[in-house]
Symmetry: C2
Subunit: 358 residues, 2 copies
C-alpha cells in the first residue's frame, strides 16, 4: 500500500474528496468512481469533476489518498521488446484477461538487459502489480535461477506473484507460477511432417546452445530424426538468433559456402523462415518448389508467406498466466505449473521430396 502521508506535511489542511465533490456539485461516490476509472461515466460529469480536481489542486495529493486504490488493480508483464510478435501476442493475451478481470495492464520492456529487468521488477513491485509475468527464452544457468528466486520471494513478500511464461520451472522452494508451451513436442511433430514427405537432409536454422527455447526445439528435431532412424548430422544445425535478418544471413552464408546439401529447412521460428525465404529467392530458389520449409510460432508473417508451422497459443499463454496468478485466493488447489499444447498448421510450404527439384 502506498502510505498515507501525515496530514501535517502540507502546512495547510489538504483538499479532500469531499471538497472536490462539493465544488463539483456531485456525490463523493461519483468523484471516487471517476477518479478510480473503474466505471463508465457521463462525459459532462467527468468534466465537472476534473475541473474541480484542477481548481482545488487535488491531484497533488492524489498519491497519498484517492488514487492509491488504482495500484492494486494492475497486472504487469515484462518482455525484452514489444516489436517481437511472440512477446506482443503474449502481452495481448495478458491485456485481454486483465481487462476481463477489471485490471489494468502494464508492460515493461528491458531490451534483454538483466539490470533493466531487475529495475523493472522493482518498479512493478513498488506499483503493487498483483502479478509480474516474465516472458521468454533465457539462459537457464545458476545466476538466472538465483535472480528469479530473488524476484519470486521479493514479490511474494509484497503480496504479488511472479509468473514465468514460456520458461522452465525453478524448483519446489521458489514461489513462482509457470506457464509453458510444448516446444519439444511441436518441433517433433513438424520435423516428422517433413520426414513423412521424404525429406532426410533438413537444415535447422537457429541453434543457440544454452538458451531454453531453441534448445527445446532442436531436441524435438533430433528426437524425430532418431525415431525415424535418420542419421543426425550436426553440420545441418546452423547457429543464429531468432530474428528475420538472421534467417537471411544463415541461408546466404550456407548457400555461399558450397553446393546445397539440404532439401528442406526447419526454421527455428517464423521470422527466421521469412528471412530464409528471402535469401532463397535471391538465389532463384522457390519455396516449396525447390526447397520445403517449416517454421515455428504461427505468427505474422507465417500466413503471408504460406508457411506450414507450429501453432503456439501465445494469447492463451498470457491469459493463463493472469488467470493463474489472480485465482490463487479462490482456488488454492490450482496447478502451479501449466504446459499448453502446440500443433501443426499446414499451409503451402512443403512438397514431397519426389516432386521437388533436388
Amino acid at each position: 500500500m502506498v502510505r498515507r502521508a501525515a496530514s501535517g506535511d502540507e502546512g495547510r489542511r489538504p483538499t479532500t474528496i469531499r471538497d472536490v465533490a462539493a465544488h463539483a456539485g456531485v456525490s463523493v461516490a461519483t468523484v471516487s468512481r471517476i477518479l478510480s476509472g473503474t466505471y463508465p461515466s457521463a462525459p459532462a460529469t467527468r468534466s465537472k469533476v476534473m475541473r474541480a480536481v484542477r481548481e482545488l489542486d487535488y491531484v497533488a495529493n492524489a498519491n497519498a489518498r484517492g488514487l492509491a486504490g488504482a495500484s492494486s488493480r494492475s497486472v504487469a508483464i515484462i518482455v525484452n521488446s514489444v516489436v517481437s510478435p511472440h512477446y506482443a501476442h503474449v502481452a495481448q493475451g495478458v491485456q485481454a484477461q486483465a481487462a476481463l478481470e477489471g485490471k489494468l495492464c502494464i508492460v515493461g520492456t528491458t531490451g534483454g538487459d538483466p539490470e533493466r529487468e531487475l529495475a523493472t521488477v522493482q518498479l512493478m513491485r513498488q506499483e503493487h502489480a498483483e502479478c509480474v509475468i516474465l516472458v521468454g527464452n533465457v539462459v537457464n544457468d545458476e545466476a538466472y535461477r538465483e535472480r528469479m528466486g530473488e524476484y519470486a520471494r521479493a514479490l511474494a513478500l509484497a503480496g504479488s506473484r511472479l509468473v514465468l511464461c514460456g520458461r522452465p520451472a525453478l524448483g519446489p522452494d521458489v514461489p513462482a507460477l509457470v506457464v509453458e508451451y510444448d516446444n519439444t513436442g511441436g518441433a517433433y511433430s513438424i520435423t516428422s511432417h517433413l520426414l513423412s514427405a521424404g525429406h532426410r537432409r533438413i537444415l535447422f536454422l537457429g541453434r543457440r546452445d544454452g538458451y531454453t527455447t531453441p534448445d527445446s526445439r532442436i531436441s524435438g528435431y533430433r528426437k524425430a530424426l532418431a525415431d525415424h532412424r535418420v542419421p543426425h548430422d550436426p553440420g545441418l544445425e546452423v547457429e543464429g538468433t531468432m530474428e528475420r535478418r538472421e534467417g537471411y544471413r544463415m541461408v546466404r552464408e550456407r548457400l555461399a559456402s558450397g553446393p546445397r546439401d539440404f532439401t528442406a529447412i526447419f526454421a527455428g521460428n517464423d521470422l527466421i523462415a521469412a528471412g530464409a525465404r528471402q535469401a532463397l529467392r535471391e538465389e532463384g530458389l522457390r519455396v516449396p518448389d525447390d526447397v520445403s520449409m517449416v517454421g515455428f510460432d504461427d505468427l505474422p508473417p507465417a500466413a503471408d508467406i504460406d508457411l506450414t508451422t507450429v501453432h503456439v497459443p501465445h494469447e492463451e499463454l498470457g491469459r493463463t498466466a493472469v488467470r493463474l496468478a489472480l485465482a490463487r485466493e479462490q482456488d488454492a488447489g490450482m496447478a502451479e505449473h501449466v504446459l499448453l499444447g502446440t500443433h501443426i498448421i499446414v499451409r503451402d510450404s512443403v512438397r514431397p521430396l519426389r516432386n521437388q527439384a533436388r
Copy 2:
C-alpha cells in the same frame, strides 16, 4: 515523489538501509546501487544483499523509502494494443531512447477503451512517470480534446508531461507536446506514384470518417487525384478499419459485387494490403501483374509481400517523443510540435497500366 511515511506507523523501528548493509556486510552505497538497479553488480554481492533484504523484511518498507527513486526514472507509453506493429514499433523507439537516457519504459495497453485509458494515465501519473506518451489514431471530437486537456493539466501538476504521438495538436493553452508524421504528404506521394504509372481507377481501402489517421491519408489521395486532374469517384473509397481481416473483407465484397472497376489499390496501411492481397489471390488475381497495390507504414508484412509503401519513421516517433519530453529542462526553446517526414519505399507491387492485365 512517494511520500515518506511517518516512522511511527510501524509500531516498531523500521528496518533501514543501514541495517541491510550491516547484515550483508557491504556498504550502504552498495545496497543502494543494487536496490536501485541502475548499476551492474556482481551476482555474489547482489545475492548477499537480497538475502539480507529478505531476512530483515526490508521489502515491505520499500515504498516509503529505498525504492522510491526508481519511480522518477520511467517513461510511459499508452497504446491500444501491442500486437499492432504500428504501436509496437513506436513503443520500441520509446524503449530505446529511454534506455539511452537511463530510464525504464512502461507500456500501458487499453484495448481502445477510454475508461481504461483514463485509469492507465492515472496509474502512470501515480507512478511518477516523467512523461506519458499517447499514440495513434483518434476521433478528434470535443470529448476527446477535453479528455486530453484534462490529462495534460493533471500530468503537468504532477510534474510529468503529456506527449501526443501521431495525433494532432490540442491548442495553445494545453500543456502537451506533439510528435506527428506526415500522413497527408505520404498519401499524396504514393497516389502520385500510381498515377504516374498510368492508373486512374485507384481503389482506396480503409476510409473511416472522423478518425484522424485515415482522414489525413484519404485527403492526400484526393489531393493527388485533383492535382493530376483525375475525377474523384467516391465509390472508389471503401470503408473499413485498419486490420488485415478488413483488407480481406473489403476486397472480397468488392469483387463479389460486380465486375472489377479498378486497376490499382491504395491500402490504408500494410495490414490492409496483406489481407487485400490474399483476397485477390483467391480470385486468381496477382499483384502486380493483374492489380497494382501500394500500402502505408513500411512495417512487416510489407517486405514479405514485396509491397511498395510509405515509410513511417515509427521508432523515430517514439525516440523523438522521449527526447522532447525529457529535454524540457535543458532546452526550453525546443519545439513543442514536431512533424516528421514520410517517404516512398519502392518494392515490386506496381506495374505501369499498359503492362498490366485490365
